[in-house]
């Protein structure tokens, strides 16, 4: 009886310690990646290649999602606002929601699902097939050759993707509001211009997406690098990447929103 209770506590202690250990490994890993980032600048080709697989290939899902999110937002806010005779404010509502929240957050979630999981799987498979240790044998630093370009490419791609998402969303909202619902073309743009601030809304949106890109990239490459090198461990790592990135993005979004738009 006593032993069973003790065993239960031991399990809790073990779990706590191992998650703290993992957290510590993650941070040391991040420091390690950042320390080799500068050395990577001499090989821009590696970065370009990763920008392609992380950024360009994610573009299609971002554009399609942005277009439809913008269109749906315009339609729904029109239905809500037309009762108050304020349908001219549709553009304000759509543009502010896109720039402040939906752009960075939805892009971050899609990015974690599309690019983050692929990164984890790729790096994890490299580890499982001992390519990473093979590089070390040849005196090539896998951090610099494999991890750093992927990390930097994700970090740089995310703000660009979020901007494209917002811009396409605005175009989608314009199509629905002006072409479909017949709102005034001039009012659409002038209302947005009167209420959207460059620093408060656009710059803060970019900062948000850069933070999300940093976190999503970190989680993706760390999970790949730290995975158990079996097919099961690889599957678990990929799942963890998507789950942790999504949770981190949603949680950080709340914190950032409270900090940026608090007063």
């Amino acid at each position: 009886m006593m032993n069973a209770v003790l065993e239960r506590f031991r399990t809790i202690g073990h779990r706590t310690l191992s998650s703290i250990r993992r957290l510590g490994r993650g941070h040391l890993f991040l420091l390690n990646v950042i320390s080799v980032l500068a050395g990577m600048m001499t090989r821009p080709g590696l970065l370009i290649k990763q920008m392609y697989s992380v950024g360009v290939l994610t573009l299609i899902i971002i554009v399609v999602a942005g277009l439809f999110v913008g269109m749906v937002m315009a339609l729904q806010s029109y239905y809500a606002l037309v009762d108050f005779g304020a349908e001219d404010s549709v553009s304000v509502m759509v543009v502010l929601s896109l720039l402040r929240e939906l752009g960075p957050v939805v892009t971050g979630l899609l990015f974690a699902g599309r690019a983050g999981s692929a990164l984890t799987a790729e790096i994890g498979l490299m580890k499982a097939t001992e390519q990473l240790s093979g590089m070390e044998m040849m005196a090539v630093n896998p951090m610099q050759r494999v991890i750093a370009p992927r990390f930097l490419a994700s970090f740089l791609s995310m703000p660009l993707l979020a901007l494209i998402f917002s811009a396409v969303g605005v175009i989608g909202a314009y199509m629905v509001a002006v072409m479909l619902l017949g709102l005034d073309d001039g009012a659409f743009w002038s209302q947005a211009q009167a209420h959207v601030d460059v620093h408060l809304d656009i710059v803060n949106g970019i900062i948000k997406s850069a933070v999300f890109g940093f976190v999503a990239a970190w989680i993706a490459v760390f999970e790949g690098y730290d995975c158990i090198p079996t097919s099961e461990g690889l599957g678990q790592a990929t799942t963890r990447t998507v789950v942790y990135s999504s949770l981190a993005i949603l949680g950080l979004d709340f914190v950032l929103t409270a900090l940026m738009f608090g007063d």
């Binding site: 080709g45 370009i48 290649k49 920008m51 392609y52 950024g55 360009v56 573009l59 108050f84 304020a86 553009s91 543009v95 720039l99 791609s157 703000p159 660009l160 993707l161 901007l163 494209i164 917002s166 811009a167 396409v168 605005v170 743009w189 947005a192 211009q193 009167a194 959207v196 601030d197 460059v198 809304d201 656009i202 970019i206």
Partner: protein, 153 residues
């Protein structure tokens, strides 16, 4: 896929991202109307500014001529002191120009309306507008209305 195509695609991707930023900055934000900093300053004292905020519009005859840049409470005069920045192009407001806090539409936001007077001389940077009309406060209007009703009986 060869390196050339990849580089081309990445170049297009980065360009698209920057174009999106440019489009957002130019067409849906206030960047194009941002030149308010080089305006001249006018001040006005109000008994009550209602829901006026920093960055609210200042307009004359319905045309936007400037923005509110600061709102303070004057501890000595027990009044609100509103600072506004007016576009340099509109520097011919007479000395007896009046300022009132108005509301755009029934539920719209509040702004300052300038009504030019007939003096020969013009307001200069830093001048204080003396003729002001406060914001309408709904409770006060209703109170006054009830008071008048009682009087008429």
């Amino acid at each position: 896929m060869n390196t050339r195509t990849i580089e081309l695609m990445v170049g297009l991707f980065v360009a698209a991202g920057l174009a999106a930023l440019f489009m957002l900055a130019m067409s849906v934000s206030n960047l194009t109307t941002y030149g308010d900093n080089d305006g001249y300053v006018l001040k006005a004292r109000f008994d009550n500014i209602g829901g006026l905020k920093v960055r609210s519009q200042v307009s004359a005859s319905g045309v936007r001529v400037g923005r509110v840049t600061g709102i303070e409470y004057d501890n000595k005069g027990y009044e609100a002191l509103v600072t506004m920045s007016i576009d340099r192009r509109y520097d011919k407001f007479p000395l007896d120009t009046s300022a009132s806090v108005l509301t755009s539409g029934l539920l719209g936001e509040q702004y300052i309306g300038l009504d030019p007077g007939a003096e020969e001389e013009y307001l200069k940077s830093g001048s204080v507008i003396h003729i002001t009309q406060s914001a309408l406060v709904l409770e006060q209007i209703i109170g006054q209305f009830l008071y008048n009703m009682a009087d008429n009986k």
